[in-house]
C-alpha cells in the first residue's frame, strides 16, 4: 500500500499541476471531501486529477441527494418547512423531492409508522435503487416516540435499515438539515455502502 501514489482507502485525490501524469506526484495533494474548502475550489484550475472511482462517486453522491419524503404525520409538515422558502434545502443540493421511490436515493421517514403502514414502508424501501439511504426523522420514526401503543411500530429499524436518526418531536427544520449534512459527510467518507 505504501508504494501507491495515493492512499488506497479512497479518501485522497491526487492532483498534479501541469506536466504529464506521474510528474510531481507528491505535490499539490488535494483531499476530498472537504478537509479544506479552498483546496477543492482549486480543482477547477487544475488540468487533471487522479483518484479512486469510489471516492469521486461518493463525493458526487453526497452532494446530490434526492429525497423521497415518506411523510405520514406532523414531521412531514416540518419537512415541508425545510423545503420551502424560509429554510431552503436547495442550498445543500437536496431539493429535488421525488415521490417515486425509483427516482430517489434518500428516504426521509417523517412521522409515525403504524403497523398498518409497515408493509407499505418496506415495499417502498425495496423499490428504491441502490445505493439508498434512510433518515428516521423524529421520535416516532426512531422509537415509536411516546406512542407506546397497540398499533405503532416502535422504531422503523424494526423494518428497514436506518442511517441517521434525528431527535425531536418534531425535529426543527434546522435539525433535519443538519442530519442531511451529516449523512452527506458519511457518504463522502465512504462509510455508507449498500
Amino acid at each position: 500500500m505504501a508504494n501507491l501514489p495515493y492512499d488506497s482507502s479512497g479518501s485522497i485525490i491526487q492532483r498534479k499541476r501541469g506536466g504529464p501524469p506521474g510528474e510531481g506526484a507528491e505535490k499539490g495533494l488535494i483531499t476530498l471531501p472537504g478537509e479544506s474548502e479552498r483546496e477543492i475550489e482549486d480543482l477547477a484550475g487544475g488540468t487533471y486529477l487522479t483518484t479512486t472511482v469510489d471516492t469521486m462517486v461518493n463525493w458526487a453522491r453526497g452532494n446530490s441527494l434526492w429525497p423521497l419524503p415518506f411523510g405520514t404525520a406532523c414531521c412531514a409538515i416540518e419537512f415541508m418547512s425545510m423545503v420551502s422558502s424560509h429554510y431552503d434545502i436547495a442550498r445543500f443540493g437536496a431539493e429535488v423531492v421525488r415521490f417515486s421511490p425509483r427516482q430517489a436515493d434518500l428516504m426521509i421517514v417523517a412521522g409515525t409508522i403504524v403497523d398498518k403502514m409497515a408493509p407499505v414502508l418496506k415495499k417502498i424501501y425495496e423499490q428504491m435503487p441502490e445505493p439508498r439511504y434512510v433518515i428516521a426523522m423524529g421520535a416516532c420514526a426512531t422509537s415509536g416516540g411516546f406512542y407506546r401503543a397497540y398499533h405503532v411500530v416502535q422504531g422503523i429499524d424494526e423494518i428497514i435499515p436506518v442511517d441517521m436518526w434525528v431527535p425531536g418531536c418534531p425535529p426543527t427544520p434546522d435539525g433535519l438539515m443538519y442530519s442531511i449534512l451529516k449523512l452527506k459527510e458519511k457518504i463522502q467518507r465512504g462509510e455508507v455502502r449498500r
Partner: protein
C-alpha cells in the same frame, strides 16, 4: 426571591376539589328541562331521560334506537338533522352486576387513590343492562341544540345500523365495531376501519393491553375492490374498466390516505377509501396517562393547528373541574387559536395549489406561516406542536412584546393572502380545475355531519364560535363566511375569507390589550404552585408533590366540549372516574365525516378532479385516524 418562612399560611382559600362527589354540570337544570320538552314532543316509549347532564340526554332501548334517530331527524320542531358523533364507552364492571360506572375495573392505575365507592353514581337500572354505552350525539341546526342518546349493549350483542337515517354514521359504526366489537346489523360494509387486517381483539376495551401489537405482513393485506356506483353500473362505454390504487404513499394523498378507484376510461365509477395508516391510538393512550399528560397527544391530532386542540381538550377538562380560566390566559388562547386557524388554512390552500401545479403560492403562503411559528416559539419555545396550554391556563406567560409581534403579523398577513388571491383567483387554469368540481349539496353535507369550512362552503353558516361561543368570541365582531355550491372553489373562497375574518378578530384582540394578571388558575389542586413557593413553603411543596404524583382528579362524571377547529367542530368527550387518569377521552375529529363523503363527491369525475378536491377538504391524517 422571598426569604424562607416556616409554616406560612396556606395561600389557597378556595374550595377543595371534590373528586369524591359526582360531577354536576353548570347548565344541568336547563338541559333537564329541555330534555322534558324533547321527550314530550317525541312521545317515544323507548327513551328514558338521564338527568344531570350537560345536554339533554336519554337512555334509549337497544331495539328502538333507529326509530328514535329517525323521529328526531324528521321531527319538524326538533330537526336534529346532523349526526355529530357516535362512539362507545366500556364499563366492564357493569356486566357482572357490580356498580354502575365500572370505575373499579381499573387495577393498575388507580391504586394510589381509589375513589370512595359509596359516592359513585347510582346503580344501573335493570331495564338497560350491558357492558358498553354506545353514545350518539346529534345537533339541530334549527334550534342550535345538541342531544345525547345512549344505548347499552352487552358483549356480543348487536344494534341495528343507523346508516339509512344518517350517512355520517357509516364510518362511526365501523369505528365502534373495530374498537369495541359492537356489531351493527345491516351495515353496508362492516369491516375494521382504523386497525389493520391482522389485528385481533378490540383495542379500546378496558381489558385490552395498550401495548399489545399484531404484526401485519404484506400477505395479510386485504385487496379492496370498490363497489361500482349504481348510476354507472349498466352504462356501456368503449373503455375498459380499470381499478387504480392511490396511496397511501402518494404525493397528492398527503401522506397516509389511500383511495382505490375504479375507472371507466377516465371517469371514476367506483371509489373506496382505506384509512388508519396513522392510527396512533390517541384514545387508548389518553386512558393510560394523567390529564396533564394527554395535552401533548392532543397536539398531534390536527398538527397544522395544534393550539386549537390544546384549547379544546383543556377546556373540556376545565368544564369537568368547574374552574374558570384567568382572563389573560383566555385572551392569549383566543389569539393563538386564531393564528393557528390562519396557519391551518395557509397549509391547506398552499398544498392544495401545489397539487394543482401552482408551486409559487406554496412559497408565498409558507412564509407568513413561518412567522406565526416564530410567534409561538417566542411564547413557549416550540414551533409546530407547542403544548402551550395547561389545564387551568397556560404553561408560561407570553413575552412582553407579544402584542407588538402579533400586530406585525396581522399587518403583514393581508399582503400574502392578497398576492395569492391575485395569482389564482382569475387564473383560467385554476378556475377550470376547481369550479364545479366535487360538489356536495347542503342536505348531503349535513347528513354526513360536515362541519367547518366544508359545510360553510355549502352555504350553511354553522360556526361553533357563533353557535356556542367560548373564550369570549361573542364579544368580537366577525362574520361567518359562506359560499354557494359546495365545490372545491367554494371551499377555497371560504378559507380565504376566513383568514381575513380571523385577522379581524386578532386586530380587535390586539386593540383591547392583554388583561393583567396570572395566566393560570390559583388552585393548587389543578395548577402547580410557583417554584419559588415550592422551595420555601411546606404547603406548596406538598401541593406540588401531590399534583405530580396523584395528578388532577376531576369529579366523577362525563362532559363534552366543542371548539371550532381548523376543519370544523372539534369536540372532546371526557369521562372521569375520579382518578388521575381519564376513564375515556373521545375526540370528535371533524375530518372523519368529511372524508367519509369523499367517494360520493368524486363519483363521475376524473382523477385530477379528485386530487384537487382532496386537497381542498384538508384531511389531516393525525386527526382522521386519531
Amino acid at each position: 426571591m422571598s426569604t424562607l418562612t416556616k409554616f406560612s399560611a396556606i395561600p389557597y382559600t378556595g374550595p377543595a376539589p371534590t373528586n369524591r362527589n359526582p360531577y354536576v354540570p353548570a347548565g344541568a337544570e336547563i338541559a333537564d328541562a329541555r330534555g322534558e320538552v324533547i321527550a314530550a314532543a317525541l312521545q317515544h316509549p323507548g327513551m328514558t331521560p338521564e338527568l344531570g347532564q350537560d345536554m339533554p340526554s336519554f337512555i334509549v332501548d337497544k331495539e328502538q334506537i333507529v326509530d328514535v334517530l329517525r323521529a328526531l331527524k324528521e321531527s319538524e320542531v326538533l330537526a336534529f338533522t346532523m349526526p355529530l358523533d357516535l362512539f362507545a364507552v366500556d364499563y366492564p364492571g357493569r356486566e357482572n352486576g357490580s356498580r354502575e360506572s365500572g370505575v373499579g375495573s381499573r387495577s393498575n392505575t388507580s391504586d394510589l387513590q381509589s375513589p370512595n365507592p359509596d359516592l359513585r353514581p347510582p346503580t344501573a337500572d335493570t331495564r338497560h343492562p350491558g357492558r358498553f354505552d354506545v353514545i350518539y350525539q346529534l345537533y339541530s341546526l334549527k334550534n342550535n341544540e345538541r342531544i345525547r342518546l345512549k344505548v347499552r349493549v352487552a358483549d356480543g350483542e348487536s344494534i341495528e345500523t343507523g346508516t339509512p337515517v344518517f350517512k355520517g354514521l357509516n364510518w362511526y359504526e365501523r369505528e365502534v365495531f373495530d374498537m369495541y366489537g359492537v356489531v351493527f346489523d345491516g351495515h353496508p360494509n362492516l369491516r375494521r376501519i382504523l386497525t389493520h387486517e391482522a389485528f385481533q381483539g378490540h383495542a379500546l376495551r378496558k381489558d385490552y393491553d395498550p401495548a399489545q401489537r399484531w404484526i401485519l405482513t404484506e400477505n395479510d393485506v386485504a385487496k379492496i375492490i370498490p363497489k361500482i356506483d349504481p348510476r354507472f353500473e349498466n352504462v356501456d362505454t368503449d373503455y375498459e374498466r380499470v381499478t387504480l390504487n392511490l396511496g397511501p404513499s402518494h404525493p397528492a394523498t398527503h401522506g397516509t390516505l389511500r383511495i382505490v378507484v375504479t375507472l371507466d376510461g377516465e371517469t371514476i365509477i367506483g371509489a373506496d377509501q382505506e384509512i388508519g395508516y396513522l392510527h396512533r391510538c390517541f384514545e387508548k393512550m389518553s386512558e393510560t396517562h394523567t390529564y396533564q399528560q394527554v395535552i401533548p397527544y392532543t397536539d398531534r391530532l390536527n398538527y397544522c393547528s395544534a393550539i386549537i386542540n390544546n384549547v379544546g381538550y383543556c377546556m373540556a377538562v376545565e368544564k369537568l373541574l368547574g374552574i374558570e380560566v384567568p382572563a389573560r390566559a383566555q385572551h392569549v388562547r383566543l389569539m393563538l387559536s386564531e393564528f393557528m386557524r390562519i396557519a391551518d388554512h395557509l397549509v391547506c390552500i398552499g398544498t392544495n395549489l401545489v397539487d394543482m401545479g401552482a408551486l409559487t403560492n406554496f412559497w408565498y403562503l409558507f412564509q407568513p406561516r413561518e412567522e406565526i411559528y416564530g410567534l409561538i416559539e417566542a411564547c413557549c419555545g416550540a414551533r409546530l406542536l407547542p403544548s402551550y396550554t395547561r389545564i387551568g391556563g397556560l404553561a408560561v406567560d407570553v413575552p412582553p412584546d407579544f402584542l407588538q409581534k402579533s400586530q406585525r403579523l396581522v399587518d403583514m398577513m393581508p399582503k400574502f393572502i392578497n398576492d395569492v388571491e391575485k395569482l389564482v383567483d382569475r387564473n383560467k387554469i385554476f378556475l377550470d380545475r376547481v369550479v364545479g368540481v366535487a360538489p356536495i349539496s347542503a342536505e348531503e353535507a349535513i347528513n354526513y355531519g360536515f362541519t367547518g369550512p366544508c359545510l360553510r362552503a355549502c352555504g350553511v353558516p354553522f360556526d361553533v364560535r357563533k353557535a356556542t361561543p367560548y373564550l369570549g368570541y361573542e364579544t368580537y365582531d366577525f362574520d361567518v363566511p359562506i359560499a354557494e355550491g359546495g365545490d372545491t372553489y367554494a371551499r377555497f373562497l371560504v378559507r380565504m375569507e376566513e383568514m381575513r375574518q380571523s385577522l379581524r378578530i386578532l386586530q380587535q384582540a390586539i386593540e383591547r390589550g392583554l388583561p393583567e394578571g396570572p395566566v393560570i388558575v390559583d388552585n393548587p389542586y389543578v395548577a402547580l404552585p410557583p417554584k419559588a413557593k415550592v422551595y420555601n413553603e411546606m404547603e406548596s411543596l406538598i401541593y406540588h408533590f401531590k399534583l405530580i404524583m396523584h395528578g388532577i382528579q376531576p369529579p366523577v362524571g362525563e362532559t363534552y366540549f366543542q371548539v371550532e377547529g381548523g376543519n370544523g367542530e372539534l369536540g372532546f368527550y371526557v369521562v372521569s372516574d375520579g382518578t388521575k387518569n381519564p376513564y375515556r377521552v373521545r375526540c370528535r375529529p371533524p375530518c372523519f365525516q368529511i372524508y367519509s363523503a369523499f367517494p360520493d363527491m368524486i363519483m363521475g369525475q376524473t382523477i385530477p378532479d379528485a386530487i384537487a378536491a382532496l386537497g381542498s377538504l384538508n384531511i389531516i391524517a393525525g386527526e382522521l385516524d386519531h
